[in-house]
């Protein structure tokens, strides 16, 4: 089970009933697009409590086509990297101690608490 964009939209809408579902949908899509755009234009993202995204450089190297064994020159490139913030790291690790029989990533959406609406 995983949470996707529509789940997030639904959950945020429940907490912001004075907005229209359309507003919340556009908001979530604008946030995700803004984040992708930031990285795609060489920038970084810093969200306190959640974490930061930076671009890591991968040096050029000679790779091999696994099928033919032929050498291929791979140019240097940037890949996005996420570093979780302190709060998120601690909260995530707590889920392991709280529920030791459940393997990583096997939590169920259905058990997510409803967070309080913002006043």
């Amino acid at each position: 089970m995983a949470v996707n964009k529509s789940d997030l939209i639904e959950r945020i809408y429940e907490r912001q009933p004075h907005l229209t579902p359309k507003d919340v949908e556009v908001a979530v899509k604008t946030i995700v697009d803004g984040m992708a755009e930031a990285l795609a234009s060489g920038g970084r993202i810093e969200i306190r409590g959640f974490g930061s995204f930076v671009l890591n450089y991968r040096a050029p190297r000679t790779g091999r086509n696994p099928r033919t064994g032929e050498a291929v020159e791979l140019s240097g490139r940037y890949v996005p990297h996420f570093k979780p913030g302190k709060q998120l790291r601690e909260d995530v690790d707590r889920s392991r101690t709280n529920n030791p029989d459940e393997a990583a990533g096997e939590g169920r959406n259905a058990n997510l608490p409803s967070l309080p609406p913002v006043e």
Partner: protein, 101 residues
């Protein structure tokens, strides 16, 4: 290099949507709260066009205090990992390619 923050996202929402500053701020806060909540309940998050946040259990491993050189075990833990989606990797790659040309 530019850094995207919550404040910048709030500004983007305020300009794109017909919401006021307070609502824009709440939407941004809630977006990250809901993702953190899912991950903190061992539920992965998938954002199409961006990437997936996954959870992994790490076994205890030997470590070292870098300052003193003393051996200290790194305890078992659960961590979040981010796997950028194909589309985001491609976009980042295109940018890097444009820079080096």
């Amino acid at each position: 290099m530019t850094t995207l923050t919550k404040a910048a996202l709030v500004e983007q929402l305020y300009e794109t949507l017909g919401v006021n500053k307070r609502e824009a701020k709440e939407l941004v806060e809630m977006f990250f709260e809901e993702m953190s909540s899912a991950l903190s309940h061992n539920v992965p998050v998938k954002l199409s066009g961006f990437g997936n946040f996954e959870l992994r259990d790490k076994a205890e491993r030997p470590g070292r205090n870098p300052k003193t050189g003393e051996e200290v075990p790194v305890s078992a833990r659960r961590v979040v990992t981010f796997r950028p989606g194909q589309k985001l990797r491609q976009r980042v790659d295109n940018y890097a390619g444009a820079q080096s040309n």
